[in-house]
């Protein structure tokens, strides 16, 4: 009874952990709570269940910790996604192993169904995760890999797996279960190979949900409520999360997973030589909401969008969060001298917030975010760096020296001078496409949500 209670408490911890992780304010606390719940569950299981092999188990745990912690500690921020993939994979493998080890003749049908599911999904998750790891780590190509006759092959593996699964249910044969494991491993590989580089994180998220389901299924195998609850939580939230991630990238999930099989998408991929990073309103909101200093550089687009009021509001909201915000007013921003002054005065922006080139540029490197609202030429680094540029020599705001740059414009079209702006392709830059007023209004709502 008390063991079950401990498990229940652990389940509750996980639940609250996920809840915490979905708001910036409580994300860290949530993660810690999850860890605490895990500790409780593991200690309980050990004290209560490690009747035999206690020392060995301890050793395995120590070994796992010795491998896991330094790996997680030392990984570079940029390599975190593949690390997550790896952790997910080993989780899936563990679930499959548990089911394999627990498999025995006879038992209820439910027991066998649960075992088959655990093994199959766990194996898919394991091998799939390894492939995603290889892709992100660039051990293999990041481009979608479509084997000759790839579609046929994939369908073949699926059919074989299903056949094996049914066979296991019917016969309870351990050999067939091992064969099913192998089929699952192949299925995982076949599943992830065709996914293109940029979409890999979404595949990881889906595999993560899979592992959750495998764990839930293993809970049925072991008749353990904790595993059911925790696995289901992860499975459900992971599925929704995957959909949301795909949505955030503006692509339907099916397209991402099976897109490589269709010609159109492959074409789109090859056309797009220079990549532009386009963010969502929420991304930008968090970038701004957690910054310490922000400079806003308005341009003609602010005027076209008549977004001056929205800009002022956003600024006062950010200032309310204790963030330093100023406007960088370029001498020739807009289409007439003083264009920005007229607009911002209309919106009642205090004059003290308006800064000139010389006030802003020296401190640009310490700016967390430069928010470029409908400006283009006046922040084009070509004017500073490329003597061949027709605007060479014009002073600009050096926003490319800020820690992050956000551009609000409607398209990739150039500004008045009609020339391309390298900064749009910079890795520091996030594009927020759309009418500036629209974007600012949405941003306002999003920052309020933080």
């Amino acid at each position: 009874m008390s063991v079950q209670l401990a498990y229940l408490v652990a389940a509750l911890c996980f639940l609250l952990a996920l809840k915490g992780l979905s708001t910036p304010r409580f994300a860290r606390a949530g993660n810690l709570l999850g860890a605490a719940g895990m500790a409780l569950a593991v200690v309980t299981a050990f004290l209560h269940g490690a009747v035999h092999n206690g020392l060995w188990i301890l050793l395995a745990i120590v070994l796992g910790t010795v491998v896991g912690v330094p790996a997680a500690r030392s990984v570079k921020m940029t390599a975190i996604p593949q690390m997550v993939a790896l952790f997910n994979g080993v989780g899936g493998a563990a679930a499959a192993l548990v089911a394999l080890a627990e498999f025995h003749d006879g038992g209820e049908l439910l027991f066998r169904v649960a075992t088959v599911l655990t093994v199959l999904i766990g194996a898919v998750s394991f091998s799939g995760s390894l492939v995603t790891f290889a892709k992100l780590q660039e051990i293999m190509t990041t481009r979608p890999v479509v084997l000759p006759a790839g579609r046929v092959l994939s369908i073949g593996i699926v059919v074989v797996s299903l056949g094996l699964a049914v066979a296991v249910l019917a016969t309870s044969s351990t050999a067939l279960l091992v064969a099913l494991t192998v089929a699952g491993l192949l299925l995982g590989i076949a599943f992830v190979l065709p996914v293109g580089g940029a979409d890999v994180p979404i595949a990881i998220s889906l595999l993560n949900a899979f592992t959750g389901l495998a764990v839930a299924a293993s809970g049925y195998v072991l008749a353990n409520t904790l595993l059911i609850v925790a696995g289901t939580l992860v499975g459900a939230s992971g599925t929704l999360l995957t959909r949301m991630m795909a949505q955030a990238m503006g692509r339907p999930l099916a397209n991402i997973l099976f897109g490589a099989f269709t010609a159109t998408v492959a074409q789109a991929h090859s056309e797009e030589q220079r990549t532009v990073r386009s963010g969502t309103v929420e991304d930008v909101a968090i970038l701004l909401g957690y910054a310490h200093s922000i400079v806003i550089v308005p341009g003609y687009g602010l005027a076209v969008a008549q977004a001056q009021h929205a800009a002022r509001e956003l600024v006062s909201l950010l200032e309310g969060r204790g963030i330093t915000v100023s406007y960088g007013i370029h001498p020739v921003a807009g289409r007439m001298p003083g264009h920005m002054n007229v607009l911002l005065a209309e919106a009642d922006v205090p004059y003290e917030q308006l800064k000139e080139l010389d006030d802003v540029n020296p401190g640009m490197t310490s700016m967390d975010v430069a928010l470029v609202v409908g400006a283009n030429d006046v922040v084009n680094p070509g004017a500073r760096d490329e003597p061949a540029s027709p605007i060479y020599g014009m002073p600009i705001f050096d926003v490319d020296r800020a820690r992050a740059v956000v551009f609000m414009k409607r398209s990739m079209r150039p500004g008045f001078a009609g020339i391309d702006n390298e900064l749009l392709y910079n890795t520091k830059t996030t594009m927020l496409f759309g009418d500036a007023k629209d974007s600012l209004t949405k941003l306002l709502a999003a920052v309020k949500q933080l």
Partner: protein, 369 residues
């Protein structure tokens, strides 16, 4: 009864006390209206427009032939002599400046009303010509200053450098002062203001301007009371620094029935940046600024002092429209079925009634006579 609108005769008066629109209001109340030909010329109200509205345009001064006379400026003494017992006249009459006229009006038993004396109560707001004309004056004061200032009011960041916004200081935040604040803010100036009344601070801020807090006692009440010379001395000392920092100063301080307090001295003017402009809306009642002359522009060093004279007259169309509506609203309080019969027990009417039935009813004026 007939209502008469004589052409204004006082110099530089361009307004008119009744516009075609208000003619219709008066006709609606059963009154007839006689307008002297050309009365509306300056206010761009042609005789034809009056006729179209239903007035009778007469070639001569209707005073003496009508029972009610409406005018902007007080009547001439000669006109007043033509009035008969019980005739009614309404104008903007400041009695302390027109004692002779008041005597004639009283002697002839005329019932005269002055919008200058109108009580500032809620119910009387429709007739409050001081407010409506102060609105015009405050607005124009800023236009006059902006036009004469050799620099921009708003800020501009341009390829040829940045122009900082002009600083405007408004002294006296009554109706005119508040409107001046609003207009200067509209044009992009950085505005601050001071007034002795306690309520003014919030009112100034409600227009987005800064209120200059001085360590002086604030007054309560609708109007400012007269201040002692020591108070004013101290005020000048304290405000000097703000004046020096300003590009434009607009002064509107007034105490009803008294000479306007002097708030800006010649020394203070000299401390201002060359080219600065002062507009003194109180110039006619003595002036808030040393050396200001009503209707003239005086250079004090490199600072231009514009002494306002009849500022609302500079914008005759709308000043007349508002004034005419005020007068009509007052008249409607005493007109019924074509007869004008003031009920002097009414707080508003008795408050602005100057003479009636041979008597001078306005206490302070009686004191002066």
């Amino acid at each position: 009864m007939r209502v008469g609108i004589p052409a204004e005769t006082r110099p530089a008066e361009r307004r008119v006390a009744c516009v075609p629109d208000t003619v219709r209001t008066l006709l609606g109340a059963g009154l007839a209206v006689d307008v002297q030909s050309g009365a509306g010329t300056h206010a761009h109200a042609a005789d034809a427009a009056y006729r179209a509205a239903g007035a009778q345009v007469v070639g001569h001064d209707p005073v003496g032939e009508v029972e009610v006379v409406l005018s902007v400026q007080p009547l001439e003494i000669a006109q007043a002599r033509k009035l008969r017992q019980g005739d009614v006249t309404i104008s903007l009459l400041s009695p302390s400046n027109e004692l002779d006229l008041v005597r004639v009006l009283a002697d002839r038993g005329v019932t005269s009303f002055s919008l200058d004396l109108l009580p500032r109560v809620t119910r009387a707001q429709g007739a409050d010509a001081l407010s409506s004309q102060a609105l015009v004056a405050g607005y124009r004061a800023v236009l006059v200053a902006a036009e004469r200032l050799p620099r921009f009011l708003p800020m501009f960041t341009t390829a040829a450098g940045t122009v900082p916004p002009a600083k405007v200081l408004v002294l006296g935040a009554g109706v005119a002062g508040l409107q001046a604040i609003a207009t200067a803010r509209r044009l992009g100036a950085v505005v601050e203001a001071y007034d002795v009344r306690a309520a003014a601070a919030e009112e100034v801020r409600s227009l987005g301007a800064r209120f200059v807090e001085l360590p002086l006692e604030a007054q309560s009440g609708v109007y400012a009371a007269e201040q002692s010379e020591t108070f004013l001395e101290r005020q000048r000392e304290l405000i000097a620094e703000r004046v020096a920092a300003s590009d434009v100063v607009i002064t509107t301080a007034a105490v009803p029935g008294r000479a306007a307090p002097v708030l800006v001295t010649t020394d203070m003017l000299k401390a201002m940046a060359p080219g600065s402009v002062v507009v003194d809306l109180a110039a006619e009642s003595g002036g808030n600024c040393a050396g200001s002359v009503p209707g003239e522009e005086v250079w004090v060093g490199e600072v231009l002092v514009h002494g306002a004279r009849n500022m609302p007259s500079g914008m005759p169309v709308h000043a007349s429209k508002l004034y005419a509506r005020n007068v009509a609203n007052l008249l409607m309080m005493m007109a019924k079925d074509g007869v004008v019969e003031p009920d002097l027990t009414d707080e508003v009417l008795s408050g602005c009634c100057l003479t009636h039935a041979g008597e001078v009813r306005h206490e302070p004026t009686r004191g002066l006579l």
